[in-house]
Amino acid sequence: MAEIRKPRALATQAAGKAGRFGRANLAATLRAKEEGKKVAYAYINNAQDEIIRAMDIVPAWGENFAGVCSAKRDAERFLQKAESENFSRSLCTYATCTIGFDMWREELGGEMPPNTPWGGMGRPDMIIGSAQQLCDPRIKWPQATRHYLQDVPVWMGTMYYPPWDPAGDHREQEELYVKYATEELRSLVRFCEKHTGRKMDWDRLDATVELTDRTWDFFIDSYELRKTIPTPMDTGDAMNTMVPLTFNLGTQEALDFYKELYAELKEKIAHRKGVAEDEKYRLVWGAGLPSWFALGDFQYFNEKGAVFPVEVTYRNAEKIERLDLPETRDPLEHIAWRWVRLWTRWFDKARKRPGSLPKVERIIEYMEDYQCDGVVFHSAFSCRSWHAGIIQQEQVLKKVYGDVPTLIMEGDIVDISSYNEVDTRNRIDAFIETLAARKGRR
């Protein structure tokens, strides 16, 4: 059963509203059958949002459900269920949490396991995978899920970006990657048409793509207001306000959310309302998914006068004009260019600073633009995709940019057994002391 805990304090009203997006998304998957809509298991940052939305398919995001289970400290029973079938604890716990849930629901003949957080996810009519676009589980999670939902068709496509090569120019390969990604998206359209029995409305897709462009712009506009000192919003809230961008891209509601967030942050800035009562230290959340069951740690930082005006995690958008996208009348090609350019965004900067890495350049840019004093990373043991390479980022950052105070926290995204609150907070205390000593020396 879920542990009853005091909710984490939120600095913005928007963060509170964002949670309702997540709940509504899950509820939509449960209502879909009555509304005659198809449900698709899908996985975030897949570049497929607009196609799914334009086809009126209801996405059931595995990461959303697993994150909710984790935040409610109610994932353990699903992880154990998966473990009983030999899914190791060292595998992605987003995946094993939802697979455990799927196994249990199938055993109950389609009924939800008792007291499933937020009512659970609706059974999918299809699974839309995204191969190795972000991580290995993108291939294996849908495949493993199908072992328990054998009648559900799976589509698997992908999107890659040119690998980082300090000696090369990624532009020479960009078109190859964009062409490939575009064809993969075209294949997804055909799959969706087949399994919904409807043809794609290309005008609607155009409009949805345009909506996404505007959402990316408003997302960045609102987030860049956090450069203000004191910052009106930090990463603790951003782990909520990322929900519309991550799970509702291609909807008017997502765009409206960031317009409201923009207005709220403007208001806070006008009244000099910061996240911390006395903002002393500004930090970059440099990499890593958070421990959803321990978001209170952000508040602990805040209580010490430390705030995170910027984070790498879940900031998967950029102002469209900064991406300098080639003109195209094909909405699928536009989607492909948008994502490929987002991933290669820091390549040029890294090439100009010998020994640097694109991921490090991104952190440096944030440190300078948001006037930060240090960087905090989180290393989640069950996720290699986002967390392998953090040690290197820390080392390269110090090598090419100077002795920046850094902290690497350790835990997991879902599996609470990896977490020790006392130890974590002791490490935060020590890091704050380092920051204080550094400031005192200046």
């Binding site: 390969q173 294949s187 390479g389």
Partner: protein, 385 residues
């Protein structure tokens, strides 16, 4: 055609025990040596480029002491161990390294490798993980980019003729190894699993023609042995990724069982599928590495039902079970391996449905836990006896 090398098993023992010894010798005579990870590396292209490909391996008996300062401990223990070996100078003789995009543990640490080890040549082959038509076309282009980087590095053009010749040599090598595998089908195999492991490891450290000669030499030598007469004992198949040491094999065979077959990336995965001779030789290479190789990181879409899909993914294992008369399978998966780990329930139930019991072990690339592993293997073999 490569002649059989006499004293094959002794030569295999030598190359196994002093891994890379031949490559070091070739290096001193002016050859360029390229190390690579994974059976997904198209060795034909390296051979066609005139360089000597050497598969990278770690050392299960050596603790990771340097890599942990650079790579997170939730990365594949095999990858960490190999990187550790490289940091300690074991591969100082290399001129470069090629890392194919097999999994996150390789993809997400490529920068750690290329920044942490100073070699003149680096290349990451960004393989896709689906096999539809756009992926085939993309892979062809990705391999042409790979070829281009090698041409630049070696200063010589790689012609279609070079590629066709390399394809032919590697196919011959695979045929030779399959012939050796055939000898394991015997009631009492005349080659042990441990000997076979040494041959597999030795073979991946040699230029292709020398590798073929070695395999043929071993085959002749084994054929010359008197037929075995031991009482019937369990015949085991080992399934996993890169197992490249005899420690685990000895743990299996120490119980009296025969290790008769494998589905390892150092074993049958390397040798079962050939490259078809195609007018554009790159096309045949694409087809083999993207479609014919059954890797858990490559999504298999075939089959209109789930059971048909399972057959497309694992049907070859059923054939192995039959051909090699397997009594039990050991599924040995490294910790923190999402590609293999997520398929455990599916592959386990598939093999069990073929009537063969399965022991699933999740472990490190290390002998530190071998005692525990051995106990589990003994219990399993007792159960299936």
């Amino acid at each position: 055609m490569a002649e059989a090398q006499s004293g094959g098993l002794a030569a295999a023992e030598k190359h196994y025990s002093d891994y890379g010894e031949r490559a070091r010798g070739l290096k001193s005579s002016g050859k360029k040596i390229i190390g690579y990870l994974s059976a997904l590396c198209p060795v034909e292209i390296l051979t066609a480029a005139g360089v000597v490909p050497v598969r990278l391996k770690g050392n299960v008996s050596e603790a990771i002491t340097k890599a942990d300062a650079h790579v997170e401990t939730m990365v594949c223990p095999f990858v960490r161990n190999v990187f550790d070996a490289a940091l300690k100078g074991k591969y100082a003789y290399l001129d470069g390294i090629v890392l194919p995009h097999q999994c996150d543990s390789i993809d997400r640490t490529y920068d750690v490798w290329s920044y942490g080890l100073e070699f003149p040549y680096w290349h990451f082959i960004n393989y896709p993980h689906v096999t539809d038509d756009p992926s085939i076309e993309f892979t062809r282009e990705i391999l042409r980019i790979f070829i281009g980087t090698l041409e630049k590095f070696t200063g010589r053009r790689i012609t279609d003729g070079d590629l066709a010749g390399a394809v032919s040599a590697h196919n011959e090598n695979r045929r030779a190894m399959r012939s050796l595998y055939d000898l394991r089908k015997e009631e009492v195999p005349r080659i042990s699993g441990a000997e076979m492991m040494k041959v597999l490891v030795a073979a991946m450290s040699l230029p292709v023609d020398e590798s073929t000669a070695l395999i043929r030499g071993v085959t002749d030598e084994v054929k010359g042995r008197a037929p075995g007469s031991r009482a019937k004992t369990a015949r085991i198949m080992l399934v996993g990724d890169q197992i490249d040491d005899v420690a685990l094999v000895n743990a299996i065979e120490g119980t009296g069982a025969f290790l008769v077959m494998d589905d390892l990336s150092t074993g049958s995965k390397m040798y079962w599928a050939d490259v078809d001779a195609t007018p554009d030789p790159v096309q045949g290479i694409v087809d083999r590495y993207l479609k014919k190789l059954k890797f858990p990181t490559t999504f298999v879409a075939e089959g209109s039902t789930y059971s048909e899909n399972l057959e497309a993914r694992f049907g070859y294992l059923r054939q192995y079970l039959k051909d090699f008369k397997v009594d039990g399978t050991i599924l040995f998966i490294y910790k923190y391996c999402d590609p293999y780990g997520f398929e455990v329930p599916a592959v386990k139930s598939f093999i069990e449905s073929a009537g063969t019991p399965v022991l699933y072990i999740e472990d490190e690339y290390s002998t530190s836990s071998l005692g525990r592993v051995k106990t589990r293997i003994e219990a399993f073999l007792e159960m299936i006896a």
